[in-house]
Amino acid sequence: MPALTRWFIKSAMIFFVAAMAVRLLQSINTFGVASPFISALGPIYFHMFLVGWVTQLIFGVVFWMFPKYSSENPRRSERLGWITFWLINIGLGLRVISEPIISLQPGTFWGWVLALSALLQWLAGLGFVINTWGRVKVK
């Protein structure tokens, strides 16, 4: 499989384990170890699971297995693929750090970090759509 697919899938695996770990933390929280920080991790768990794990696994496999774009550029733009990879990982990483913090301390600098993470993940989604669109073709 191509290098970018390996990076997507390995990063997805890391987010998969991390999402499960957050879920474990949340269940520990129900045993009276009440921590507002852990309580604020709900949206993080969902998005580590659905964006970090499921979406990245899909992105990696699509980049690898979808029909070739052309003989010169079988995977369309490798460069855009790598940009997508870094945008989604940095974006989601910033979200994981900043979202629980702003849940406890709204209106701080971390709000802008969360807004930046939103922008980076949105651009990653568009990058994937642009790079994949031309590879969805009828034979």
């Binding site: 709000g111 989604g125 969805v136």
Partner: protein, 135 residues
């Protein structure tokens, strides 16, 4: 890939772009509250990414790669799969716009009914293709 798979996947890609846009707007607003109305996009965000993108990608790839029949038509009753495509997309749009139609309380039910129907029709279509190779 076959035409129907391209329809499923390209429609899914459009929903992916829309779903990420809605999610991005909500997340941006969570960090820097500039448009409180962004939160009303949450049901559409979930619908677009879960049903519109993920499920349609799965259905499109399934139609493409499940074992084909050794006799014509190689992909079986394709008409059923097309019906499933139209039903799921109608269901998605009804579901997205139903919160806006307060005078039509049955609309969300109708949207979900279309989606269940789509799932049932696709399952009926795909069932015979889930088979050993060469049969």
């Amino acid at each position: 890939m076959p035409l129907l798979s391209a329809f499923f996947i390209r429609t899914g890609l459009i929903y992916l772009a829309l779903g990420f846009t809605f999610g991005g707007l909500m997340l941006f607003n969570k960090g820097v509250p500039v448009m409180p109305a962004a939160w009303s996009l949450l049901p559409a965000h979930i619908e677009l990414l879960l049903i519109g993108w993920t499920i349609q990608l799965i259905l499109g790839v399934a139609f493409w790669i499940l074992p084909r029949f050794s006799h014509a038509p190689a992909r079986g009753k394709e008409g059923l799969a097309w019906i499933s495509y139209y039903m799921i997309n109608a269901g998605i749009w009804v579901d997205i716009f139903s919160p806006l139609s307060h005078d039509l309380p049955w609309l969300p039910l109708f949207g979900r009914l279309l989606e269940v129907g789509s799932a049932l029709v696709f399952a009926l279509y795909a069932w015979p293709r889930i088979k050993a190779t060469g049969v």
